[in-house]
């Protein structure tokens, strides 16, 4: 099992904002018995999905050269439950990013309804200079994950140009052009 809590990006502007969706399904085991048989997407996993949306946005800004560590959920508030068949839309806005870390404001919507809102803080760490995950992640796997999430299909620079996968990941993936 992989720790994916978003299904795909639908909008991604490098260094600024990203939107990702997560469809809740009754086939997901964690939904079966959560909240005494009422089949609810656990709020903790919604936090994780919102954090993944913002964390990948922060990581992309520095070409996934640094580890982006979820350091603190400064504030979170839930307004309603998310149940099977519904699609959560996570919208992350980076309010600050520099070499030491990043701060983001993230919302979760069910259609037009605000489902949750969160402020999250990430710390940047270049663990042994080994880039994203400090060697904890296989770069080829990581590149495949980014493709699956459609980051490079929808991603663009603030000027509207398409973003590209960083060379170290493209090499690992085998797509780099010499």
């Amino acid at each position: 099992m992989r720790w994916f809590w978003i299904d795909r990006f639908t909008e991604f502007t490098s260094g600024q904002r990203a939107t990702a969706v997560k469809t809740v399904s009754l086939s997901e085991e964690h939904v079966h018995d959560h909240l005494c048989g009422t089949s609810t997407m656990p709020n903790s996993l919604i936090i994780e999905g919102m954090a993944q949306t913002a964390g990948l946005l922060a990581g992309e800004h520095y070409g996934f050269q640094e580890s982006v560590i979820l350091a603190k959920v400064a504030k979170v508030r839930f307004h309603e439950r998310a149940t099977p068949g519904e699609t959560l839309t996570y919208r992350a806005v980076l309010t600050t990013i520099d070499e030491s870390g990043a701060r983001a404001e993230v919302t979760s919507h069910l259609g037009e309804r605000l489902q949750a809102e969160m402020e999250v803080l990430f710390a940047h760490a270049d663990i042994d200079g080994e880039g994203a995950g400090g060697g904890l992640f296989d770069e080829r796997d990581f590149a495949t994950t980014l493709r699956a999430l459609r980051m490079y299909e929808v991603g663009q620079t603030p000027e509207g140009e398409p973003i590209k996968m960083p060379r170290h990941l493209a090499v690992a993936e085998g797509s780099a052009v010499a």
Partner: protein
Amino acid sequence: MATREEIFEKVQAALVDALAVDDDEVTPEATLVGDLGAESIDFLDIVFRLEKGFDISIPRGELFPEDILTSADYVVDGKINEAGLALLKERMPFADLSTFEKNPEVQEFATQLTVQDMCNFVESKLSDAA
């Protein structure tokens, strides 16, 4: 430039949000770690909030000089040596280090930084920018 009262109110708001404490707990004398429960990652949060709240830039290490506190040149047997203390005073003119000087153990450093020190820091940054 903002008055001291305005600076305190904004610093207080930043600390209330960052540390999930009540307004009345954030007094000038309150220590960030000892009284308000700040942990190391909270300092990054506080720096981001102060930068946004006051529209200032705070180079990392300026508010909390980790480089000095972890340097073998300045830390001997868990205590800051004289050269380290001199450097801390130079880098942190906003902080009252008189209590810390009496027993300069590294682990005591963070526990003594007060809300007033934070206000003095912001005031010096605003003054530099003016």
